[in-house]
Amino acid sequence: MSVIDNIVIGAGPAAAAVVSALVEDRRQSVTVLDVGTRLERWRQELLDEARIQPVALWPTSTRRALSEQPKSVGAVLPEKRVYGSDFPFRDEGQLAGVEAEGGANPNLVSSAFGGFSNVWGAQVMPFTRPTIDRWPVSYADMTAAYRDILRLIPFAGVDDDLAELFPLLVAPAPLPRLAPRTETILRRYERSRHRIRPLGITVGAARLAFDASRCTRCGLCMTGCPDGLIFSASHLLDSLIAHRSVRYQSRSLVLEVTEDATGASVRWKDLATGRLHERSADRVFVAAGGIGSTRLLATLKSLEGKSLKLQEALQFVLPALSIRSAGDPRQQAAFTLNQFNVALQLDEDGRDLPFIHFYPYNAAMLEAVPRVLRVRSLDPALASLMARLTVGLGYLPSWASPTVQLRIGARRHDGELPEVTVRRDDFGDLPMLKATVSALRRVAPWLDLWPMPGVRLGAAGKSYHFGGTLPMAEASDPRELVADRLGRPRGIRRVHFVDGAVLPDIPATTFTLTVMANARRIAVEAMKREIEAAA
């Protein structure tokens, strides 16, 4: 068989997963087209120099430069920084023509090498079976793909009650020592499980894509791990790009994807020269992120003037206090990624499942306290507050979240992507959120985790758990805009959409592992079908 020419658009988790599958077949040649923004050179050099010694010995100026706390960008919840940089959110042209109305998050498409996985929370759990059972893909197929991905990335976790709904699938490495607050809550859950479980609540430790064995618990997880232990798609891609069959081309902003009888074509702008280029390929995998890929879909299918439903799992922040102190956390060594999770099962089959990731103390919480309260004389009070504070970052499934509309506009110039407008009109009543908070209040005495009033809701597009604009569906599905199980829109043979855009719905559970598993599954099945067709 001759060489099969593949183009992969994007360099986030979905793209990395596709490339990981393609390199396993020697007949596949791969070109990755990506904007490819990276950490500023001076920060990288500073980091390389700093990581030679323990964080405790870093000069204050270095620490300040490399561990900047999240910044407010007007999207209700602050935006993370990595090694002090905003590079995952930087506009290199990919955001031109993206309008965010009604307070929606404007930074919806990443230009970064590794995409938003440079700043993600690293939680990795599969979707539940009742979610996948409604897809045109079997759970067994997804399970095989989950396993493949979990073997490619670092994975730490615990076999606990959450494994009933979210099987571990591969053996995880142990987590580093958990914070005293987390240990207390998990212990209290064990003790009162028979009271907590009847309310549909399951509590378990975090499952994280990070190299836990080398963690020094320096407390800088949220601002960029000094040792690079938290998985980013850039790590996987870096190792894959070293493969001789993969060509990575940065500074390439893809503007159009087309298909005709002879093959698929991609047109892109070289951001260094401003020139437009075009190339054909046997197959194109579109992995530009939920909204980036939808814009490219609009160049493949005539979508101008249409309004698509963007499925998003609504994000909310739920601070909670404990009555008993777990000691001043500012003096405790800890890793500061998500440490424990609460799943609330609201129906018999486990599909309606709001999910909350809880974070004990990290420095961002201290930063969020008004400066006037951070004076020396109030320090004992502040220590007492921090010793009791836990912050939950929760999600509702897309079907229980407010509707987000994605309106597709025209292309103003030949060298631009179609305009899109993201808007969410109204949060509505959110009964599932009320049920979640109410259930947490009921178990608060047993867990010693008391939800505080004032749940903060994320802006449209802020959860980054969105997609579903081209949902995979059965051939008999009456909807106009759907994809087959290989991520191909109807009537298209050689262009596969592989990221969140093709997920039929977005549950409240962790997102990126499923995006990666599904992308890899699509690539594997596409190759298999080609081999079968050739035979």
Binding site: A163, E164, G200
Partner: protein
């Protein structure tokens, strides 16, 4: 088609009924347990809910029927023994189909520890694509479990009657094996949860009355003080003839029989309680 069926817990009362029904239907049973059942003559592989199972435990099996349960663990460490032990069994790599013998006590919202642990294993079974069968209150001449305990009360001249109007789904012990055998013939078509019981629930008063072989005076008692007394006795490690947790199951039974359409689809037949009677 004859299947090779591994039965975990074959030496127990329910496991024994399951095994007999499967063999009557022409399947070969491999016992998975700590000791061979009284029947003997079958292949026995070592399995205990307390231990890590051998990775080859399920080799060559077409179906795993998981009927193992440590009832003594309900008051001690029900989770680490029954739930964690079951998950270890389910995680043994094997392509065989899984059928978990659960209970009608397992329903969304139950507060009974026994029901909660069964429900937890059901969730793990469902995630792995298996089927859970929720058995109603099993009755019949050799019935053990709840009916066995009640029968002991029925021999007393004076016995407590709690929640007489609570309605329970009932399963005759002779219907269990054939129903399970029929379920296995459906292959992998049936997923999720199926209730094994006659679809018409029976008032608890009728159940206890049918158990009496001689005049017994049943004294109606409010359940909460009885529950508190049993809990208190358990806390000071007194051995009682009835567990406080079992009382919850009697007071708050399931109100819906799940998977009832499957009965018609597979031709599952469960005799009505009033026709069979407990002694039938």
């Amino acid at each position: 088609m004859s299947l090779v069926v591994g039965v975990a817990g074959a030496s127990g009362y329910v496991g024994g009924r399951v095994t007999a029904g499967l063999e009557a239907a022409g399947h070969r049973v491999v016992e998975l347990g700590r000791r061979p059942s009284a029947m003997g003559g079958r292949e026995v592989r070592h399995f205990s809910l307390d231990e890590v199972p051998s990775p080859t435990l399920l080799d060559g099996l077409d179906v795993l029927v998981h009927a193992a349960w440590d009832l003594q663990a309900v008051g001690r460490h029900p989770w680490s023994t029954n739930v964690a032990g079951s998950r270890r069994l389910l995680d043994v790599p094997a392509p065989c189909r899984v059928v978990f013998v659960s209970s009608m006590s397992a329903y969304h919202g139950t507060t009974q520890a026994y029901g909660l642990t069964k429900l937890a294993v059901e969730r793990a079974v469902a995630t792995r694509g298996g089927t859970s069968v929720r058995l109603g209150l099993v009755y019949g001449p050799s019935a053990a479990g709840m009916v066995g305990a009640l029968r002991r009360f029925a021999t007393l001249p004076l016995a407590p009657l709690i929640a007489p109007d609570a309605r329970h789904f009932m399963l005759h012990e002779d219907d269990l094996g054939p129903a399970l055998a029929r379920l296995l013939t459906a292959g992998g078509r049936i997923h999720g949860v199926v209730g094994f019981a006659h679809p018409r629930p029976v008032a608890f008063r009728d159940v206890v009355e049918s158990l009496c072989t001689r005049p017994t005076r049943w004294v109606r008692l409010p359940w909460r003080p009885v529950y508190a007394s049993l809990r208190g006795a358990e806390l000071v490690h007194l051995r009682m003839p009835f567990r406080s947790d079992s009382l919850i199951g009697l007071v708050r039974p399931a109100t819906v029989l799940p998977g009832e359409p499957v009965h018609a689809e597979l031709g599952l037949a469960f005799r009505p309680f009033h026709e069979a009677g407990v002694g039938a």
